[in-house]
């Protein structure tokens, strides 16, 4: 049968495979810029940083291999490493839950069809796109101990003025407050999630006698868990890397109370030119973030509800 096949038919698969090969070649050409960029600007530097973490390197002289000395130093001989880690963890674990909570409340408040809701949405969202440097300036001024808005507001409420960013105890909470100002993008993601909840579910629950709170607890919240999960993962990755605001507003002070991890890394790398040590710091941060993300993904299938299966 095969032998007797007309030539026209045997030519077709050949032409088809030529087309497929052409498609594959074109495909590789399309993604070529990314592949080159990935190798040179991501994978290469990753590996290089992995190597540098085991060296002593100050740019002036070639990297000198010193084994695990950098890691020994940062784990056992460097209080600032632990302090910066503590500061960053303090910030992350207070900021991220508050951030999610307020963003969710804001999204719930915006998920209502009333006149002028788009103006509210604008007001809620705009702070989150304010350039970081500009917002750092603004908040330094707001937290100014002598003339700032924050103390003016406290004064109206009859409370004593505070030193905010200049106070060892209040500096980190001040960072949490100013970061909460940018709840807009998490809020928009929540809002989209809220609006993707099928109306039929709400109606079914209402017919079953569920009140507003009941529907929120049993319908809205479970349907929202994937979005909460996303905002949680992104939020943690982002807050572990807090840098710009601290660099501009406090430079780590007072008394290292706002020496966040990346700020410390920057100081080690670009101020003291301890490139090897800074690379070790970078890898430790990477592993911490990776670990957190991994744990969250593992734990997520206990509380994140994916519609239509658990393939998420």
């Amino acid at each position: 049968m095969i032998r007797s096949a007309p030539t026209g038919l045997s030519a077709a698969p050949k032409r088809r495979s030529a087309l497929l090969r052409q498609e594959a070649i074109d495909g590789y050409l399309c993604i070529l810029p990314w592949v080159v960029g990935f190798v040179i600007f991501t994978a290469g530097p990753m590996l290089a940083s992995g190597y540098l973490a085991f060296t002593q390197y100050d740019i002036a002289f070639a990297p000198k291999f010193i084994g695990l000395a950098n890691f020994q130093q940062l784990l056992f001989g460097d209080p600032l490493f632990w302090l910066s880690l503590y500061n960053t963890a303090y910030f992350t674990f207070l900021f991220v839950p508050l951030h999610l909570l307020f963003a969710l409340i804001a999204a719930l408040a915006l998920n209502l069809r009333v006149r002028g809701i788009s103006v509210y949405r604008l007001i809620f969202y705009i702070p989150s796109i304010t350039p970081t440097v500009a917002s750092a300036f603004l908040w330094m001024w707001i937290f100014n101990p002598d003339y700032g808005l924050a103390n003016a507001v406290l004064g109206i409420a009859g409370l004593p003025p505070q030193k905010w960013l200049f106070s060892e105890t209040l500096a980190k909470p001040s960072f949490i407050i100013l970061s909460l100002w940018g709840l807009g993008s998490a809020m928009i993601i929540f809002l989209a999630g809220l609006q993707a909840v099928p109306e039929s579910l709400h109606e079914a629950a209402a017919i079953d006698g569920a009140g507003v709170l009941g529907r929120f607890w049993h319908v809205t919240l479970p349907m929202l868990t994937p979005v909460i999960f996303f905002n949680l993962v992104i939020g943690i990755i982002g807050s572990f890397q807090i840098f710009t605001t601290a660099f501009i507003a406090t430079q780590g002070g007072p008394d290292n109370a706002t020496l966040f991890y990346v700020l410390y890394l920057y100081n080690q790398g670009f101020q003291f030119l301890h490139m090897g040590y800074a690379s070790a710091l970078a890898w430790v941060l990477f592993l911490i973030i990776l670990g957190f993300t991994f744990v969250q993904v593992q734990v997520s299938n206990r509380w994140v509800y994916y519609e239509g299966g658990t393939d998420g």
Binding site: P33, W34, T42, A109, L138, W181, A192, E203, M275
Partner: protein
Amino acid sequence: MDNPVGEQVKSGLLPTPGLASGAMTAKAVRPSRRLGWISLRISWYVVLTVFSVVLALPFFWLVSTSLKARGTEFLVPPQWIPQPIEWDNYRIALFESGLPFTTFLVNTVLITTFNLIGSLVVGSLVGFGFARLRFPGRQTLFLCVLSTMMLPGVVTLIPSYLLFKTFGWVNTWLPLIVPTYFGGGAFNVFLFRQYFLTIPRDLDEAARMDGASTWQIYGRIALPLAGPVLATVAIFSFLDNWNNFLGALIYLNSLDKMTLAVGLQAFQGVRQSDWNLMMAAATIMVIPVMALFLFTQRYFMRGIVMTGMGGR
């Protein structure tokens, strides 16, 4: 997973009848329910108002301070509306601050433009390759794209710096621009791919039957249909580059090369106690972002929704 992004976007931010129809059902049930609904509605307005005031106040303070005459920003209690309104602050901040502020502005515009073009051209091409062309290893390589999206940028900071230093690119714009042309940014690639997946395949097949090459399909079919995602990527590319602080801080060290983000930080050193001028300078950096947002709100929201939903 490969949920058509267009659909999500369409359903994403349209006002839903959610709570409005909830009101209908509540009305039909019991008076006590109705009372509960009214109190809920009132508390909703309270939440909206409180959030709006808290979020808008810092912004108001920024603009208000930027218009205060020298010295009046230190009045206690503070003036909410500046008396007199000093527009001259903006002229001083732009031209007489002692720093080449207009140069910072021009530099930022140029770098942002270069990167905007790069992320559109290269990002769309790579995204097109991943979405529309079949080639061995496509899934694995796309996983690499996704994982670089989650990669903390700090990990590659030190080796990237060393790499660009060996290229002799320190204190040039090249480290801030060239990587964009090699990959277009993982996030942008992701956005383009998701979008191109929603275009029906029949279009490609029909064009191929007519003898169109891959490049013709990309240029004549895919790109003309990609308007919304091009807009979204353009906006986020603009924001990223306008705001980029760490990159500019590390690579640019002479005043004539600096961008607004680092220039503003230098401004802090020169005009430390002139808070009105610092706020004017910050406002100048904020204005283009606000303008862009007001004109392209739809695409902004869509972009954020696409990220959020992409994480599902």
